[in-house]
Amino acid sequence: MRVLLSLAFLKGKAKIRNLFQTKSSAIFTILCALGYVGIMVMMLTLDKNPLAMMNALNQHGIVMLGVGYTALMVFSTMFQKRKALLFAEDSFYLFKGPFTQRQILLYASLATLTTSFLFGLLTVFVVVAMSMQNEISFGFMGMLLLTSMLSVMIWVQFNDTIYLYSLVYPKYKPIVRWIAIVLLALTGILLLWEAYVNDFAIMAAGKDFLMTDAFYFFPVFGQMKLALIAFLNHDLSALAIGLGVLVLLYILTLLLFIRRKPDFYEYAMLDSEEFSQYYKAIRSGKKSSFDMNAKKVKQVKHTRFYRGAGAVFSKNLLMMKKGRSLLRGQELLIIAIYFLMAIVLDNSFEMFAYMLYVFLFILLQDCDLLKELKNYQIYLIPDSAGKKLLFAMLPSLIKISLIACVSILIGGIYFGVTTKDILLNMIQMEGYILVFLSASALSVRILKSRATAIVENMIRMIILILCALPGIFLTFFMLTKWHVTDVSAYEMVTYGSLALNFVLSLILFYFSKNMMNGCDIQSE
């Protein structure tokens, strides 16, 4: 086992060394770490009400945000179609090496520890970022990190145990999915019950759902909530029960996980190779992270191909149809979650629109345009550079615009926003989509190929944010300096920012288009 522990240590060291391999990578890694700490400190030092002093509803709301985010990550892992116990390199050396099955499984559980730590940090970040009026103490953050980590580890280890058995006995495969569906169904039933009790008054039902004691009986997530609420209320016995059950479940799932299993090495190797291949393709930007759950390819017949650069558009549209990526279920789910969060946190259309901007920004990081620009074929096609870039951008523009417009329409109707405001919001968002897309193309030109994917993504994000800043500043300037309050002036702000973003995207497009001749895509 010592050898495997030193392998884990060596790999961790190598990852850090890789991050500091080049000056640019090192600077960005340090900036990111400082950024995370800085944002946390900034958010924590703002003048807020201490969470422990807040009313019960706020306490439960914040705690449920943490529980919900942890659950979201757990469910995304449970529903993930591609699974593997280890990465290809690990499985190659471990399965053929002089290690017992238990040693290998213990090594795999170490990876779960790292994953749960990162998920936990993310949960803390989200809770702190979303708790706008509430002060979060370091003690609560620590407890949130601990309970989130324990919850993730319990579910992931359970998930992995079933996965290992299902490798040999495929009939076990649907168990995890069914458990997840049952949990979701129970949540739905509880929500419906609260709605029924409150005569279908949504807000009241939502409040009661947040505070109901019945939730404490939910496996793992219920005890996570119990421990956190007990921590805030200094209720030591409830804290001991919540935390105790979590620790007990963790030990139990760990024992189940490392227990002797039928010979799964052959199938686990195959899955590892496939998973690693996908993982590498996603990290290098050749595949989207949504592809990890890609469904069966749809048969599409009789697709018309346009000539010249237009063929790129036809090809991408065909791939979207075949890969069912025009509108993915996961994307709809994320929008639905944002919608619910907007209701719970602020109950306003503005909050939903703000979250939608964040989602579109994230979606652009993952869009097909970046994948297209990584393929050499587009650079060889004999057509003008501008046309090639335009046709490469068009499918992503259509897809993202469609998502944005439909979401704004549904959100606008729910929150009772006027038709005019819905249209103005759509126009304003379209301006930012144009800027984000053009900035993505420019980022490919500027970045070329860098040492690490993390640094590349970080730089791309910064470029995107920088490109969106003029529009944001203009809107801010018009709203604050000109004291815009009436509707017609708001229209002016919308059209102003659209015009600015449109011009900006044209400029970005102009500076990016020469890249399509090909000579700028590789690292210097």
């Binding site: 036809s314 004999p382 001749n517 090909g518 000579c519």
Partner: protein, 235 residues
């Protein structure tokens, strides 16, 4: 014709290609030989205008970045780059339309037969074996009827029968007047078909020779004389 004048490519302080001059004439097979890391692939990628470089490169008289040049050359990369979920036929239709190839269906049938891919026409790229992917990659470069063909390590992943078929195809294209530039480090494979050879080492052309100029020595012997015996395993 592919003309390369004073090509230099640097990565930071490293000169991957250093003042390279070469010419691949129509109706001839020109080979670019060299051990691993000699700069062959960098030269090929520069000719395909996928890298930024110093120097001048012309394809059939046109600057290699121009649309006119792109219409005329086909490029077969070392590792096939394909779209996982597109079928063989969809790949061909995409490239044929992008290059505005007229009546490509007939050619597609011919190449499918030649590469033994007829029964794989409706298979997705991700369902193909490594060798089949390589064949599809070749098909995509050939469907445009190129006047100049750039080939980077062409035989990787192919079975012996496919290697023979590919070599015959190169000879046929040569007879049709196509300029073919092949980069490889496996001399045995191209020994029968080459006309002109450029031997590269450490980014420089260290020897240029024509098949007609070879007397007693074989190409392999010339190669080792230029780059040293320590590279024997490469050839």
């Amino acid at each position: 014709m592919i003309e390369v004048h004073h090509l230099t490519k640097t990565y930071g302080k490293l000169k991957a290609v250093d003042d390279v001059n070469l010419c691949a004439k129509p109706g001839e097979i020109t080979v670019l030989l060299g051990p691993n890391g000699a700069g062959k692939s960098t030269t090929i990628k520069s000719i395909a205008a996928l890298l930024k470089y110093e120097g001048e490169i012309k394809i059939c008289g046109h600057d290699n970045h121009s649309v006119a040049a792109k219409k005329l050359f086909g490029y077969i990369p070392e590792a096939p780059v394909l779209y996982d979920i597109l079928t063989v036929a969809e790949h061909v239709r995409f490239i044929a339309n992008a290059y505005r190839v007229e009546h490509y269906e007939e050619k597609m049938v011919q190449y499918l037969e030649l590469f033994d891919l007829s029964d794989k026409k409706d298979k997705m790229a991700k369902e193909l074996s490594k060798g089949m992917k390589q064949k599809l990659s070749m098909m995509l470069a050939l469907i445009i009827s190129p006047q100049a063909l750039l080939v980077d390590e062409p035989m990787v992943g192919l079975d012996p029968a496919s290697i023979e078929d590919t070599l015959r195809l190169f000879v046929k294209l040569k007879e049709q007047g196509v300029s073919i530039l092949i980069s490889t480090h496996i001399i045995d494979v191209i020994d029968e078909i080459w006309d002109d050879a450029y031997i590269m080492d450490h980014g420089k052309i260290v020897q240029t020779l024509k098949r007609t100029e070879l007397k007693e020595q074989s190409l392999k012997e010339v190669f080792f004389a230029c780059v040293g015996e320590h590279h024997e395993s490469a050839a």
